[in-house]
Protein backbone atom coordinates (compact mmCIF):
# COMPACT_ATOMS: atom_id res chain seq x y z
CA UNK A 1 0.00 0.00 0.00
CA UNK A 2 2.78 2.34 0.93
CA UNK A 3 4.62 1.52 -2.27
CA UNK A 4 1.59 2.44 -4.35
CA UNK A 5 1.18 5.70 -2.50
CA UNK A 6 4.84 6.51 -3.01
CA UNK A 7 4.57 5.73 -6.70
CA UNK A 8 1.46 7.86 -7.09
CA UNK A 9 3.11 10.85 -5.52
CA UNK A 10 6.00 10.48 -7.92
CA UNK A 11 3.88 10.22 -11.08
CA UNK A 12 4.29 13.86 -11.98
CA UNK A 13 8.02 13.73 -11.46
CA UNK A 14 8.25 10.57 -13.52
CA UNK A 15 6.23 12.08 -16.35
CA UNK A 16 8.33 15.22 -16.33
CA UNK A 17 11.58 13.30 -16.41
CA UNK A 18 10.24 11.12 -19.21
CA UNK A 19 9.31 14.14 -21.29
CA UNK A 20 12.65 15.79 -20.55
CA UNK A 21 14.41 12.62 -21.66
CA UNK A 22 12.33 12.56 -24.83
CA UNK A 23 13.48 16.09 -25.58
CA UNK A 24 17.08 15.13 -24.97
CA UNK A 25 17.15 11.97 -27.11
CA UNK A 26 18.07 13.58 -30.44
CA UNK A 27 20.65 15.68 -28.65
CA UNK A 28 22.17 12.62 -27.09
CA UNK A 29 22.31 10.98 -30.49
CA UNK A 30 24.00 14.00 -31.98
CA UNK A 31 26.63 14.08 -29.26
CA UNK A 32 27.25 10.34 -29.45
CA UNK A 33 27.57 10.36 -33.22
CA UNK A 34 30.10 13.17 -32.99
CA UNK A 35 32.47 10.57 -31.61
CA UNK A 36 31.70 8.19 -34.47
CA UNK A 37 33.79 7.26 -37.50
CA UNK A 38 31.03 6.75 -40.05
CA UNK A 39 31.31 3.82 -42.42
CA UNK A 40 30.21 5.71 -45.48
CA UNK A 41 29.11 9.26 -46.03
CA UNK A 42 26.04 8.95 -43.81
CA UNK A 43 26.72 9.33 -40.12
CA UNK A 44 23.64 7.43 -39.03
CA UNK A 45 24.87 4.16 -37.64
CA UNK A 46 27.47 3.60 -34.96
CA UNK A 47 30.69 2.27 -36.36
CA UNK A 48 33.77 3.09 -34.36
CA UNK A 49 34.75 5.43 -31.56
CA UNK A 50 37.10 8.22 -32.58
CA UNK A 51 38.05 11.69 -31.52
CA UNK A 52 38.84 12.51 -35.11
CA UNK A 53 35.95 14.90 -35.67
CA UNK A 54 36.75 16.73 -32.44
CA UNK A 55 40.39 17.25 -33.23
CA UNK A 56 39.86 18.15 -36.88
CA UNK A 57 36.80 20.30 -36.83
CA UNK A 58 37.79 22.35 -39.85
CA UNK A 59 39.09 19.59 -42.10
CA UNK A 60 36.35 20.61 -44.52
CA UNK A 61 36.79 24.38 -44.56
CA UNK A 62 33.25 24.99 -45.83
CA UNK A 63 31.88 23.86 -42.49
CA UNK A 64 33.92 26.32 -40.48
CA UNK A 65 33.31 29.05 -43.00
CA UNK A 66 29.56 28.49 -42.76
CA UNK A 67 29.87 28.55 -38.98
CA UNK A 68 31.80 31.80 -39.03
CA UNK A 69 29.31 33.40 -41.41
CA UNK A 70 26.48 32.41 -39.09
CA UNK A 71 28.30 33.83 -36.09
CA UNK A 72 29.01 37.13 -37.80
CA UNK A 73 25.41 37.44 -38.91
CA UNK A 74 24.14 36.50 -35.46
CA UNK A 75 26.24 39.13 -33.69
CA UNK A 76 25.19 41.90 -36.06
CA UNK A 77 21.54 40.93 -35.92
CA UNK A 78 21.59 40.65 -32.13
CA UNK A 79 23.14 44.06 -31.56
CA UNK A 80 20.81 45.92 -33.90
CA UNK A 81 17.60 44.03 -33.09
CA UNK A 82 18.21 44.29 -29.34
CA UNK A 83 18.72 48.03 -29.51
CA UNK A 84 15.69 48.68 -31.69
CA UNK A 85 13.50 46.21 -29.82
CA UNK A 86 14.47 47.59 -26.40
CA UNK A 87 13.61 51.10 -27.52
CA UNK A 88 10.20 49.93 -28.71
CA UNK A 89 9.61 48.09 -25.47
CA UNK A 90 10.39 51.15 -23.36
CA UNK A 91 8.02 53.24 -25.42
CA UNK A 92 5.24 50.68 -25.07
CA UNK A 93 5.57 49.95 -21.36
CA UNK A 94 6.74 53.19 -19.84
CA UNK A 95 4.88 55.77 -21.82
CA UNK A 96 1.25 56.55 -22.50
CA UNK A 97 0.42 57.86 -25.94
CA UNK A 98 -2.30 57.64 -28.52
CA UNK A 99 -1.79 54.89 -31.06
CA UNK A 100 -0.23 52.61 -28.45
CA UNK A 101 -2.65 49.81 -29.25
CA UNK A 102 -1.88 50.08 -32.92
CA UNK A 103 1.83 50.03 -32.22
CA UNK A 104 1.45 46.94 -30.04
CA UNK A 105 -0.46 45.20 -32.79
CA UNK A 106 2.09 46.27 -35.35
CA UNK A 107 4.87 44.63 -33.36
CA UNK A 108 2.81 41.52 -32.72
CA UNK A 109 1.91 40.76 -36.32
CA UNK A 110 5.42 39.74 -37.49
CA UNK A 111 5.45 37.19 -34.65
CA UNK A 112 2.42 35.47 -36.07
CA UNK A 113 3.49 35.60 -39.70
CA UNK A 114 4.75 32.23 -40.89
CA UNK A 115 8.43 32.07 -41.81
CA UNK A 116 7.73 31.20 -45.44
CA UNK A 117 5.76 34.38 -45.95
CA UNK A 118 8.33 36.53 -44.13
CA UNK A 119 11.11 35.05 -46.20
CA UNK A 120 9.25 35.30 -49.45
CA UNK A 121 8.11 38.88 -49.01
CA UNK A 122 11.62 40.02 -48.19
CA UNK A 123 12.96 38.16 -51.19
CA UNK A 124 10.43 40.00 -53.34
CA UNK A 125 11.50 43.31 -51.78
CA UNK A 126 15.19 42.74 -52.38
CA UNK A 127 14.57 41.69 -55.95
CA UNK A 128 12.39 44.71 -56.62
CA UNK A 129 14.90 47.24 -55.33
CA UNK A 130 17.82 45.39 -56.86
CA UNK A 131 19.77 44.56 -53.74
CA UNK A 132 21.98 41.56 -54.47
CA UNK A 133 21.20 38.62 -52.27
CA UNK A 134 23.87 37.64 -49.82
CA UNK A 135 25.28 38.43 -46.38
CA UNK A 136 23.54 41.76 -45.92
CA UNK A 137 20.13 40.65 -47.11
CA UNK A 138 20.27 37.83 -44.58
CA UNK A 139 21.16 40.31 -41.84
CA UNK A 140 18.32 42.66 -42.83
CA UNK A 141 15.83 39.80 -43.05
CA UNK A 142 16.76 38.33 -39.68
CA UNK A 143 16.65 41.66 -37.87
CA UNK A 144 13.11 42.11 -39.16
CA UNK A 145 11.71 39.04 -37.46
CA UNK A 146 13.94 39.22 -34.37
CA UNK A 147 12.79 42.67 -33.27
CA UNK A 148 9.38 41.40 -32.15
CA UNK A 149 10.95 38.68 -30.00
CA UNK A 150 13.15 41.23 -28.27
CA UNK A 151 10.10 43.39 -27.54
CA UNK A 152 8.26 40.44 -25.96
CA UNK A 153 11.14 39.55 -23.66
CA UNK A 154 12.03 43.08 -22.56
CA UNK A 155 8.34 43.88 -22.08
CA UNK A 156 8.03 41.00 -19.65
CA UNK A 157 10.90 42.40 -17.58
CA UNK A 158 9.77 46.03 -17.73
CA UNK A 159 6.15 45.29 -16.95
CA UNK A 160 7.21 43.59 -13.72
CA UNK A 161 9.19 46.62 -12.59
CA UNK A 162 7.73 48.74 -9.81
CA UNK A 163 7.05 52.24 -11.19
CA UNK A 164 7.45 53.63 -7.70
CA UNK A 165 11.17 53.02 -7.92
CA UNK A 166 11.37 55.62 -10.65
CA UNK A 167 9.23 57.98 -8.58
CA UNK A 168 11.57 57.47 -5.63
CA UNK A 169 14.53 58.28 -7.87
CA UNK A 170 12.94 61.53 -9.02
CA UNK A 171 12.04 62.37 -5.45
CA UNK A 172 15.76 61.98 -4.73
CA UNK A 173 16.83 64.59 -7.27
CA UNK A 174 17.40 62.33 -10.27
CA UNK A 175 16.45 64.00 -13.57
CA UNK A 176 14.55 61.81 -16.04
CA UNK A 177 17.82 60.90 -17.73
CA UNK A 178 19.53 60.09 -14.45
CA UNK A 179 16.50 58.03 -13.40
CA UNK A 180 16.86 56.01 -16.58
CA UNK A 181 20.60 55.61 -16.21
CA UNK A 182 20.79 54.70 -12.53
CA UNK A 183 17.49 52.93 -11.89
CA UNK A 184 15.44 51.90 -14.94
CA UNK A 185 18.23 50.66 -17.17
CA UNK A 186 20.14 48.58 -14.58
CA UNK A 187 16.90 46.93 -13.53
CA UNK A 188 15.91 46.22 -17.13
CA UNK A 189 19.33 44.81 -17.98
CA UNK A 190 18.58 41.15 -17.20
CA UNK A 191 15.63 41.30 -19.59
CA UNK A 192 17.73 42.95 -22.27
CA UNK A 193 20.43 40.35 -21.81
CA UNK A 194 17.89 37.55 -22.11
CA UNK A 195 16.51 39.13 -25.25
CA UNK A 196 20.00 39.33 -26.71
CA UNK A 197 20.65 35.66 -26.01
CA UNK A 198 17.37 34.66 -27.59
CA UNK A 199 18.19 36.79 -30.64
CA UNK A 200 21.56 35.07 -30.93
CA UNK A 201 20.03 31.63 -30.98
CA UNK A 202 17.13 32.59 -33.25
CA UNK A 203 19.50 34.14 -35.74
CA UNK A 204 22.07 31.39 -35.67
CA UNK A 205 19.53 28.61 -36.08
CA UNK A 206 17.29 30.24 -38.68
CA UNK A 207 16.87 28.30 -41.88
CA UNK A 208 13.67 29.20 -43.69
CA UNK A 209 13.92 32.98 -43.83
CA UNK A 210 17.66 32.83 -44.40
CA UNK A 211 17.35 30.36 -47.27
CA UNK A 212 14.98 32.66 -49.13
CA UNK A 213 17.39 35.58 -48.91
CA UNK A 214 20.86 34.13 -48.87
CA UNK A 215 21.69 34.01 -52.54
CA UNK A 216 25.04 32.24 -52.76
CA UNK A 217 26.31 32.51 -49.23
CA UNK A 218 26.21 29.51 -46.93
CA UNK A 219 25.22 29.81 -43.30
CA UNK A 220 25.55 26.94 -40.88
CA UNK A 221 21.90 25.79 -41.20
CA UNK A 222 22.07 26.12 -44.97
CA UNK A 223 25.14 23.93 -44.97
CA UNK A 224 23.36 21.32 -42.84
CA UNK A 225 20.32 21.32 -45.10
CA UNK A 226 22.50 20.86 -48.15
CA UNK A 227 24.48 18.11 -46.48
CA UNK A 228 21.39 16.31 -45.20
CA UNK A 229 21.00 14.30 -48.38
CA UNK A 230 24.66 13.55 -49.01
CA UNK A 231 25.54 12.80 -45.44
CA UNK A 232 26.30 15.17 -42.58
CA UNK A 233 29.95 15.02 -41.51
CA UNK A 234 30.53 14.37 -37.78
CA UNK A 235 32.26 17.74 -37.47
CA UNK A 236 28.82 19.32 -37.70
CA UNK A 237 27.78 17.19 -34.73
CA UNK A 238 30.83 18.43 -32.89
CA UNK A 239 29.93 22.05 -33.46
CA UNK A 240 26.32 21.48 -32.39
CA UNK A 241 27.45 19.64 -29.26
CA UNK A 242 29.87 22.42 -28.41
CA UNK A 243 27.15 25.01 -28.74
CA UNK A 244 24.78 23.06 -26.54
CA UNK A 245 27.40 22.36 -23.90
CA UNK A 246 28.67 25.91 -24.20
CA UNK A 247 25.26 27.34 -23.41
CA UNK A 248 24.98 25.03 -20.38
CA UNK A 249 28.41 26.16 -19.24
CA UNK A 250 27.42 29.83 -19.55
CA UNK A 251 24.35 29.29 -17.41
CA UNK A 252 26.36 27.37 -14.83
CA UNK A 253 28.92 30.18 -14.76
CA UNK A 254 26.20 32.77 -14.24
CA UNK A 255 24.74 30.74 -11.39
CA UNK A 256 28.11 30.41 -9.69
CA UNK A 257 28.82 34.12 -10.00
CA UNK A 258 25.50 35.16 -8.48
CA UNK A 259 25.90 32.70 -5.64
CA UNK A 260 29.39 33.91 -4.86
CA UNK A 261 28.25 37.53 -4.95
CA UNK A 262 25.43 36.78 -2.55
CA UNK A 263 27.79 35.07 -0.11
CA UNK A 264 30.24 37.95 -0.27
CA UNK A 265 27.63 40.36 1.00
CA UNK A 266 27.38 38.44 4.22
CA UNK A 267 31.13 38.41 4.82
Amino acid sequence: MKLIKYLRSKILLGLSLAILTYMMIPLALIIILSFNRPKGRQNTAWNQFTLDAWTNICRDPTICRAFSVSVQIAVLVTVIATIIGTMISFALVRHKFSGKDGATLGVFIPLSTPDVILGASLLALFLNIFIPLGFWTVVLAQITFTISFVVVVVNARLAGMDPRLEQAAMDLYATPFQTFRYVTFPLALPGIAAAALISLSLSFDDYIITSFNSGRIVTFPIYIWGAAQRGIPPQVNVIASLMFLGSLALVALAAIITRRRRLKAFA
Binding site: I25, F97, A103, L125, Y207, A228, V236
Partner: protein, 287 residues
Protein backbone atom coordinates in the same frame (compact mmCIF):
# COMPACT_ATOMS: atom_id res chain seq x y z
CA UNK B 1 3.90 65.16 -13.12
CA UNK B 2 3.43 68.51 -14.81
CA UNK B 3 1.73 68.81 -18.17
CA UNK B 4 5.05 69.84 -19.65
CA UNK B 5 6.68 66.69 -18.37
CA UNK B 6 3.81 64.63 -19.68
CA UNK B 7 4.16 66.14 -23.14
CA UNK B 8 7.87 65.46 -23.07
CA UNK B 9 7.17 61.85 -22.17
CA UNK B 10 4.92 61.45 -25.17
CA UNK B 11 7.53 62.97 -27.42
CA UNK B 12 10.13 60.59 -26.03
CA UNK B 13 7.80 57.68 -26.73
CA UNK B 14 7.45 58.64 -30.38
CA UNK B 15 11.21 59.17 -30.70
CA UNK B 16 11.87 55.73 -29.26
CA UNK B 17 9.46 54.16 -31.67
CA UNK B 18 10.85 55.77 -34.81
CA UNK B 19 13.70 53.34 -35.59
CA UNK B 20 11.54 50.28 -34.97
CA UNK B 21 8.53 51.68 -36.78
CA UNK B 22 10.62 52.71 -39.75
CA UNK B 23 12.33 49.36 -39.92
CA UNK B 24 9.14 47.32 -39.70
CA UNK B 25 7.33 49.58 -42.12
CA UNK B 26 10.03 49.24 -44.73
CA UNK B 27 11.08 45.63 -44.19
CA UNK B 28 7.82 44.07 -43.14
CA UNK B 29 4.66 45.94 -43.96
CA UNK B 30 5.79 47.32 -47.27
CA UNK B 31 7.07 43.98 -48.59
CA UNK B 32 3.90 42.34 -47.39
CA UNK B 33 1.75 44.81 -49.24
CA UNK B 34 3.84 44.47 -52.35
CA UNK B 35 3.39 40.73 -52.02
CA UNK B 36 -0.33 41.39 -51.91
CA UNK B 37 -0.03 43.31 -55.14
CA UNK B 38 1.98 40.47 -56.64
CA UNK B 39 -0.75 38.02 -55.72
CA UNK B 40 -3.08 39.81 -58.09
CA UNK B 41 -0.71 39.95 -61.05
CA UNK B 42 -1.43 38.18 -64.28
CA UNK B 43 1.10 36.18 -66.26
CA UNK B 44 2.43 37.67 -69.45
CA UNK B 45 3.22 34.37 -71.04
CA UNK B 46 3.12 30.69 -70.57
CA UNK B 47 6.36 30.39 -68.62
CA UNK B 48 7.39 32.22 -65.44
CA UNK B 49 10.37 33.72 -67.28
CA UNK B 50 7.96 35.78 -69.32
CA UNK B 51 7.22 37.88 -66.29
CA UNK B 52 4.06 39.23 -64.72
CA UNK B 53 2.08 42.43 -65.04
CA UNK B 54 0.12 44.32 -62.42
CA UNK B 55 -3.55 43.52 -62.58
CA UNK B 56 -6.47 42.66 -60.38
CA UNK B 57 -6.67 39.04 -61.14
CA UNK B 58 -8.64 37.79 -58.17
CA UNK B 59 -8.95 34.47 -59.88
CA UNK B 60 -5.41 33.80 -58.71
CA UNK B 61 -6.88 33.23 -55.29
CA UNK B 62 -9.73 31.02 -56.33
CA UNK B 63 -7.47 29.00 -58.59
CA UNK B 64 -4.85 28.58 -55.95
CA UNK B 65 -7.30 27.48 -53.29
CA UNK B 66 -9.14 25.20 -55.66
CA UNK B 67 -5.94 23.47 -56.59
CA UNK B 68 -4.18 23.35 -53.23
CA UNK B 69 -6.89 23.22 -50.61
CA UNK B 70 -5.91 19.67 -49.52
CA UNK B 71 -2.53 21.03 -48.49
CA UNK B 72 -4.19 23.67 -46.33
CA UNK B 73 -6.33 21.03 -44.68
CA UNK B 74 -3.39 18.75 -44.13
CA UNK B 75 -1.26 21.53 -42.67
CA UNK B 76 -3.94 22.62 -40.19
CA UNK B 77 -4.72 19.03 -39.30
CA UNK B 78 -1.12 18.09 -38.61
CA UNK B 79 -0.56 21.32 -36.71
CA UNK B 80 -3.76 20.83 -34.77
CA UNK B 81 -2.88 17.32 -33.69
CA UNK B 82 0.64 18.36 -32.83
CA UNK B 83 -0.66 21.28 -30.77
CA UNK B 84 -3.05 19.11 -28.81
CA UNK B 85 -0.39 16.55 -28.05
CA UNK B 86 1.98 19.33 -27.08
CA UNK B 87 -0.53 20.61 -24.52
CA UNK B 88 -0.82 17.13 -23.04
CA UNK B 89 2.94 16.72 -22.85
CA UNK B 90 3.78 20.26 -21.79
CA UNK B 91 1.31 20.59 -18.98
CA UNK B 92 2.73 17.94 -16.62
CA UNK B 93 6.26 19.19 -16.96
CA UNK B 94 5.29 22.86 -16.69
CA UNK B 95 3.14 22.05 -13.68
CA UNK B 96 5.93 20.11 -12.02
CA UNK B 97 8.41 22.92 -12.60
CA UNK B 98 6.02 25.58 -11.31
CA UNK B 99 4.61 23.82 -8.30
CA UNK B 100 6.78 20.94 -7.19
CA UNK B 101 10.36 21.51 -8.24
CA UNK B 102 11.91 24.08 -5.95
CA UNK B 103 15.58 23.25 -6.22
CA UNK B 104 15.65 22.05 -9.80
CA UNK B 105 13.21 24.49 -11.36
CA UNK B 106 15.78 26.55 -13.19
CA UNK B 107 17.90 23.57 -14.08
CA UNK B 108 14.92 22.02 -15.85
CA UNK B 109 14.19 25.32 -17.55
CA UNK B 110 17.74 25.45 -18.85
CA UNK B 111 17.55 21.87 -20.07
CA UNK B 112 14.42 22.69 -22.00
CA UNK B 113 15.85 25.79 -23.64
CA UNK B 114 19.48 24.72 -24.14
CA UNK B 115 18.81 22.29 -27.02
CA UNK B 116 17.82 25.36 -29.02
CA UNK B 117 21.52 26.04 -29.31
CA UNK B 118 22.07 22.83 -31.21
CA UNK B 119 20.56 23.39 -34.64
CA UNK B 120 16.97 22.29 -35.00
CA UNK B 121 17.78 20.92 -38.45
CA UNK B 122 20.28 18.57 -36.92
CA UNK B 123 17.88 17.50 -34.20
CA UNK B 124 15.06 16.86 -36.67
CA UNK B 125 17.52 14.96 -38.82
CA UNK B 126 18.44 12.94 -35.77
CA UNK B 127 14.83 11.81 -35.57
CA UNK B 128 15.21 10.65 -39.13
CA UNK B 129 17.99 8.38 -37.98
CA UNK B 130 16.12 7.22 -34.89
CA UNK B 131 12.96 6.44 -36.80
CA UNK B 132 14.68 4.94 -39.83
CA UNK B 133 13.61 1.57 -41.17
CA UNK B 134 16.73 -0.22 -39.96
CA UNK B 135 16.70 1.47 -36.59
CA UNK B 136 15.98 0.13 -33.16
CA UNK B 137 12.60 1.80 -32.70
CA UNK B 138 11.03 0.61 -35.93
CA UNK B 139 12.46 -2.86 -35.46
CA UNK B 140 10.93 -3.11 -32.00
CA UNK B 141 7.51 -1.83 -33.09
CA UNK B 142 7.50 -4.09 -36.11
CA UNK B 143 8.12 -7.10 -33.91
CA UNK B 144 4.97 -6.10 -32.04
CA UNK B 145 3.19 -5.72 -35.34
CA UNK B 146 2.23 -2.17 -34.43
CA UNK B 147 3.13 -0.55 -37.72
CA UNK B 148 0.64 -0.91 -40.60
CA UNK B 149 3.17 0.22 -43.22
CA UNK B 150 6.18 -1.34 -41.47
CA UNK B 151 7.88 2.02 -41.28
CA UNK B 152 7.47 5.36 -39.57
CA UNK B 153 9.46 7.63 -41.85
CA UNK B 154 7.68 8.95 -44.90
CA UNK B 155 4.36 8.68 -43.12
CA UNK B 156 2.16 11.39 -41.69
CA UNK B 157 2.94 10.09 -38.21
CA UNK B 158 6.58 10.98 -38.63
CA UNK B 159 5.72 14.51 -39.68
CA UNK B 160 3.39 15.02 -36.73
CA UNK B 161 5.99 13.55 -34.38
CA UNK B 162 8.53 15.95 -35.78
CA UNK B 163 6.19 18.89 -35.31
CA UNK B 164 5.48 17.84 -31.75
CA UNK B 165 9.15 17.57 -30.94
CA UNK B 166 10.10 20.89 -32.51
CA UNK B 167 7.35 22.96 -30.95
CA UNK B 168 7.08 21.41 -27.51
CA UNK B 169 9.34 24.04 -25.89
CA UNK B 170 7.10 26.76 -27.34
CA UNK B 171 4.22 25.24 -25.44
CA UNK B 172 6.13 24.54 -22.23
CA UNK B 173 7.56 28.02 -21.74
CA UNK B 174 4.39 30.16 -21.79
CA UNK B 175 2.58 27.50 -19.75
CA UNK B 176 5.35 27.48 -17.18
CA UNK B 177 5.40 31.26 -16.93
CA UNK B 178 1.65 31.33 -16.46
CA UNK B 179 1.60 28.52 -13.89
CA UNK B 180 4.56 29.96 -12.02
CA UNK B 181 2.67 33.20 -11.48
CA UNK B 182 -0.13 31.46 -9.62
CA UNK B 183 -0.01 32.12 -5.88
CA UNK B 184 0.50 28.71 -4.27
CA UNK B 185 -1.54 29.82 -1.31
CA UNK B 186 -4.63 29.75 -3.48
CA UNK B 187 -4.32 25.98 -3.53
CA UNK B 188 -4.03 25.91 0.23
CA UNK B 189 -7.13 28.07 0.53
CA UNK B 190 -9.03 25.79 -1.82
CA UNK B 191 -7.98 22.76 0.19
CA UNK B 192 -9.13 24.47 3.33
CA UNK B 193 -12.48 24.92 1.65
CA UNK B 194 -12.87 21.18 1.08
CA UNK B 195 -11.60 20.94 -2.50
CA UNK B 196 -10.10 17.58 -3.44
CA UNK B 197 -6.88 17.36 -5.43
CA UNK B 198 -8.69 17.06 -8.73
CA UNK B 199 -11.06 19.90 -7.87
CA UNK B 200 -8.16 22.08 -6.84
CA UNK B 201 -6.70 21.55 -10.28
CA UNK B 202 -9.79 22.04 -12.40
CA UNK B 203 -11.28 24.87 -10.36
CA UNK B 204 -8.18 26.86 -9.48
CA UNK B 205 -5.07 25.95 -11.44
CA UNK B 206 -6.57 25.24 -14.86
CA UNK B 207 -8.61 28.47 -15.17
CA UNK B 208 -5.64 30.56 -14.06
CA UNK B 209 -3.35 28.82 -16.52
CA UNK B 210 -5.57 29.45 -19.53
CA UNK B 211 -3.68 32.59 -20.68
CA UNK B 212 -0.53 30.47 -20.78
CA UNK B 213 -2.33 27.74 -22.69
CA UNK B 214 -3.64 30.20 -25.24
CA UNK B 215 -0.19 31.78 -25.69
CA UNK B 216 1.31 28.35 -26.12
CA UNK B 217 -1.33 27.34 -28.65
CA UNK B 218 -0.69 30.43 -30.72
CA UNK B 219 3.08 30.05 -30.55
CA UNK B 220 2.76 26.40 -31.56
CA UNK B 221 -0.12 26.14 -34.00
CA UNK B 222 0.76 29.04 -36.26
CA UNK B 223 4.40 28.22 -36.97
CA UNK B 224 3.59 24.51 -37.11
CA UNK B 225 0.96 24.97 -39.77
CA UNK B 226 3.37 26.97 -41.93
CA UNK B 227 6.29 24.60 -41.47
CA UNK B 228 7.78 22.65 -44.33
CA UNK B 229 10.98 21.33 -42.86
CA UNK B 230 9.41 18.46 -40.94
CA UNK B 231 7.34 17.42 -43.92
CA UNK B 232 10.38 17.48 -46.16
CA UNK B 233 12.75 15.61 -43.85
CA UNK B 234 10.41 13.12 -42.26
CA UNK B 235 7.42 12.82 -44.53
CA UNK B 236 6.62 11.21 -47.83
CA UNK B 237 5.24 12.66 -51.05
CA UNK B 238 1.69 12.55 -49.76
CA UNK B 239 2.56 14.45 -46.59
CA UNK B 240 3.39 17.79 -48.08
CA UNK B 241 1.96 20.77 -46.22
CA UNK B 242 1.00 24.19 -47.48
CA UNK B 243 4.43 25.46 -46.45
CA UNK B 244 6.05 23.06 -48.89
CA UNK B 245 3.79 24.28 -51.68
CA UNK B 246 4.47 27.94 -51.00
CA UNK B 247 8.20 27.33 -50.84
CA UNK B 248 8.31 25.39 -54.07
CA UNK B 249 6.08 27.93 -55.84
CA UNK B 250 8.45 30.72 -54.87
CA UNK B 251 11.81 29.08 -55.30
CA UNK B 252 11.37 26.33 -57.84
CA UNK B 253 8.37 27.15 -59.97
CA UNK B 254 8.75 30.91 -59.56
CA UNK B 255 5.04 31.34 -60.02
CA UNK B 256 5.03 34.46 -57.87
CA UNK B 257 1.37 35.43 -58.21
CA UNK B 258 0.17 32.00 -57.25
CA UNK B 259 2.70 31.70 -54.45
CA UNK B 260 1.64 35.08 -53.09
CA UNK B 261 -2.03 34.24 -53.37
CA UNK B 262 -1.43 31.05 -51.43
CA UNK B 263 0.56 32.96 -48.82
CA UNK B 264 -2.18 35.48 -48.25
CA UNK B 265 -4.90 32.90 -48.13
CA UNK B 266 -2.89 31.18 -45.45
CA UNK B 267 -2.34 34.48 -43.61
CA UNK B 268 -6.06 35.18 -43.80
CA UNK B 269 -6.93 32.05 -41.87
CA UNK B 270 -4.28 32.85 -39.30
CA UNK B 271 -5.43 36.44 -38.92
CA UNK B 272 -8.97 35.23 -38.30
CA UNK B 273 -7.67 33.00 -35.53
CA UNK B 274 -5.69 35.87 -34.01
CA UNK B 275 -8.72 38.14 -34.18
CA UNK B 276 -10.78 35.60 -32.27
CA UNK B 277 -8.00 35.33 -29.69
CA UNK B 278 -7.75 39.11 -29.33
CA UNK B 279 -11.46 39.40 -28.86
CA UNK B 280 -11.16 37.10 -25.89
CA UNK B 281 -8.02 38.51 -24.32
CA UNK B 282 -7.55 42.12 -25.47
CA UNK B 283 -4.43 43.83 -26.75
CA UNK B 284 -3.21 44.79 -23.29
CA UNK B 285 -1.74 41.39 -22.55
CA UNK B 286 -0.63 40.70 -26.13
CA UNK B 287 3.04 41.13 -25.58
Amino acid sequence: MTTLAKKRKIKTAYLLLIPGAAWLLFFFFFPLSSLLATSLKRPLGAAPEDGFAYALQFSNYSNAIAEYWPYFVRAFTYAGIATLVCILLAYPIAYYMAFKATKYKYLMLVLIVAPFFASFLLRTNAWKTILSADGFVVGFLNALGALPEERILSTSIAVVLGLIYNFLPFMILPLFISLDKIDKRLLEAAGDLYATGSQRFWKVVWPLSIPGVVSGVILTFIPASGDYINAQLLGGVSDKMIGNVIQSQFIILRNYPQASALSFSFMAVILVLIYLYLRRVGTKDLL
